[in-house]
């Protein structure tokens, strides 16, 4: 019951954060002088295309771009009725993409799910790689296992994501025959779900997951190793060893459980960086996630599209962080619910 109360409290803070974030994003989006439609109208006027101007003017009215900024914000989020009643983010109307001349929801479409898929698989990758390597590096600290794990970790931290992506793509294709670019084989695009399509998507996921996850896995591994080393130097470990507990069982019985909590909580800290990474890697590798649409939208001041993508990315991160917080509370009974003690 107390847990439920904490969950509700956490959800409320997330909604509040999201609200602040929406203001922040709206301000950033509107920072550049001018907007897409004014630019377009000026261009159409200059080339003397009257019917185009009429359409742009119509869109301007339709999406309330002729109103002051603070009203635009309220309409965009859906707090006050716009020209066609309440139709903002809250109501599920994401606006119009001027660049693609289609509703934003159509432009992003499947990309949302693929974005979630890429990020979730990267998080799984981090756990699957960091857990055994971190424990091994701690158990065999100051041996070649430890050093080579640290070396690979440092290299992962230092190599720019996008380069790693290009290089892995090149060699993965050359030596392993992994597919290049995209999220699935082009023949499956727009096709209904099938086993072959799932296989194709999974095959295409290998390189992106690896690239996005590497730096996170490196950071996570180092932290797990440090936690494990702290635990391993405690007297109870010595007692257990002295009493003849086999090493593997000794490791997993208590030290691992103690070191595991920060490990779970940390994903909340890593998530922003990983989502960042996924945007960058998607652009480089041409994955059909929302990364590339964000870049085009930002470059052409397509404000509704850019705003929605930024909001979605923020939401993804916030939800991930919330889940990790809730998991931590479930795992570790010592964590206090609600406000931190002062």
């Amino acid at each position: 019951m107390i847990f439920l109360r904490y969950a509700v409290y956490r959800l409320l803070t997330m909604v509040m954060t999201l609200w602040v974030v929406s203001i922040l994003i709206f301000v950033i989006i509107n920072l550049p002088p001018g907007d897409y439609l004014s630019n377009q109208i000026a261009e159409l006027r200059a080339t003397g295309q009257a019917e185009g101007v009429a359409k742009a003017e119509f869109l301007r009215k339709e999406y309330a771009l002729d109103k002051p900024l603070w009203q635009q914000y309220l309409i965009w989020v859906g707090f006050v009725p716009g020209p066609q009643g309440y139709s903002g983010l809250i109501q599920g109307d994401f606006g119009w993409s001027f660049e693609f001349d289609r509703p934003v929801s159509e432009v992003v479409g499947d990309a949302l799910w693929l974005t979630v898929l890429v990020n979730v698989s990267a998080v799984l990758f981090v756990y699957i790689v960091a857990l055994p390597l971190g424990v091994l590096a701690a158990a065999r600290s100051k041996t070649w296992v430890d050093y080579s794990a640290a070396f690979v970790g440092y290299l992962g931290l230092a190599t720019p994501n996008f380069l790693l992506a290009l290089i892995l793509f090149y060699y993965g294709n050359k030596y392993l025959g992994l597919p290049i670019g995209g999220m699935m084989d082009p023949s499956f695009e727009g096709q209904p779900m099938s086993w072959a399509k799932v296989q194709s998507v999974l095959l295409h996921l290998i390189v992106p997951t690896f690239v996005i996850g590497t730096s996170g896995a490196a950071a996570m591994m180092q932290r797990l190793r440090a936690n494990m080393l702290d635990e391993l130097s405690k007297p109870y470990v010595e007692t257990a060893t002295a009493k003849g507990l086999p090493p593997a069982r000794m490791l997993t019985k208590y030290p691992l459980r103690m070191a595991f909590n920060p490990f779970v909580a940390d994903i909340g800290n890593l998530l922003p960086a990983m989502v960042s990474g996924s945007v960058l890697v998607s652009v480089v590798l041409g994955l059909q996630t929302i990364g590339p649409s964000l870049l085009t939208a930002l470059k052409s001041q397509d404000q509704f599209l850019a705003g929605f993508v930024l909001m979605f990315v923020a939401l993804l991160t916030l939800i991930g962080t919330m889940i990790s917080d809730l998991l931590l509370v479930l795992l570790d009974p010592r964590i206090k619910y609600g406000e931190r003690a002062r």
Binding site: L24, I28, L155, P160, F162, L166, I167, S276
Partner: protein
């Protein structure tokens, strides 16, 4: 050895401070903090090497033009995508000093690209301290003396040339000037903001603390790169390279401060209860003075370590932004701008040397990480 009346034994040899075993300990008591830190840091081999390497890099920065054989935007139109050239010393069993072979471009009509014939009969010695194109040392002393130039009638592309026939090696040296300073400016901005907000939140507490903490939480929960992208997309495209460079470094710093502010705040909450702060308050020092003179110096060493560890993130951030075309723009040269050319698989496959700028990035980022680790481990000399 003689026995005292009370039964103790005493060495007859006179007291020699040189063999006093506790002398080292006593010296430690007197040694300054900086000295203890240095003694500990010296033992951190990797950190020391990285520190020396980075110091060298930054010292050399103003003289990039002198070392580079070419200027960054100097084009050799006849030598597009020239592969890296070797510097040789021995020609047909005879030592003739550093030289290169001249090359001529041949149109490869099968693969539709330039290939280069090496003329191995005519070794051409390199020229040293020679006159070349004009550049300026540290941005204001004009000069045209180069450490090394290509022989007349030949080229000197140590790491190849790019799609416009510009020397990759020279461009990397010039690119270092921007890529390495971006981190410094960014970290300055981030530090100013982080210390300011962290200090007032930790020192004053209350509603101010609450507001700042919520702001920190919001900023920390957001992915940085999309926000960087959005902010740099707002930079007007008609600004000059220098203005863009400064605004990009500021953007990198503006989103980086929350982590630092959080650490500063936590430390201040603890320090606020210390007696020396009480004493300073009693004597009527103002908050600004207490924060700057009494509290900040207490963990300046910690700040230095964390600064060293956050610079790599900025360098990588600039690289990513420029790579995506939203950061620095040509004619400015940075490692990210250079990598923009190596964006597709074709260039990595056919012209692998265009991806060479990734090497200095990796090396510098690693060096900063090692240096930061070393500093962090040694800055608290009393802990062991």
């Amino acid at each position: 050895m003689s026995m005292q009346p009370d039964g103790r034994y005493i060495d007859n040899a006179p007291y020699d401070p040189a063999i006093d075993l506790s002398a080292i300990d006593r010296e430690d008591m007197d040694a300054s903090n900086a000295r203890l830190v240095w003694r500990k840091f010296r033992r951190h081999r990797l950190g020391l090497i990285s520190g020396v390497f980075l110091a060298l890099c930054y010292i050399v920065l103003p003289f990039a033009g002198f070392i580079a054989p070419y200027t960054p935007n100097e084009r050799s139109a006849d030598f597009l995508y020239h592969p890296p050239q070797d510097i040789r010393f021995w020609h047909e069993g005879e030592f003739i000093g550093p030289y290169v072979y001249p090359t001529t471009a041949v149109a490869d009509l099968e693969n539709f690209r330039w290939s280069y014939d090496v003329d191995e009969t005519r070794p051409m010695p390199l020229q040293f301290f020679c006159q070349g194109s004009t550049y300026s040392i540290a941005g204001f002393i004009p000069s045209n003396t180069h450490l090394v130039c290509a022989p007349v009638g030949a080229t000197l592309f140590l790491w190849g040339s790019d799609r416009l026939g510009r020397d990759v090696f020279s461009r990397i040296l010039y690119g270092a000037q921007l890529s390495l300073t971006v981190g410094l400016i960014g970290i300055t901005v981030s530090f100013a903001l982080g210390i300011f907000f962290g200090a007032i939140a930790g020192y004053f507490g209350g509603a101010l603390d609450w507001t700042i903490q919520r702001a920190i939480e919001v900023l920390r929960s957001l992915p940085e790169l999309p926000l960087w992208l959005a902010l740099s997309a707002a930079v007007p495209s008609n600004w000059g390279p220098v203005a863009v460079f400064f605004i990009i470094s500021i953007i990198l710093g503006v989103l980086d401060w929350p982590g630092l502010a959080r650490a500063v705040r936590a430390k201040f909450l603890a320090l606020r209860e210390e007696e020396f702060v009480r004493a300073a308050e009693m004597m009527g020092a103002r908050p600004g003075r207490i924060i700057m003179r009494h509290m900040l110096p207490n963990f300046s060493s910690h700040l230095i370590a964390s600064a060293t560890l956050s610079i790599p993130a900025m360098i990588l951030g600039e690289t990513a932004l420029s790579f995506l075309g939203l950061g620095l723009r040509a004619p400015a040269v940075s490692w990210g701008v250079m990598l923009n050319d190596a964006q597709n698989l074709a260039s990595i496959e056919i012209y692998p040397w265009t991806a060479i700028p990734m090497l200095p990035i990796i090396v510098v980022v690693l060096a900063f990480n090692f240096l930061g680790d070393g500093l962090r481990d040694s800055l608290d000399p009393y802990k062991d």
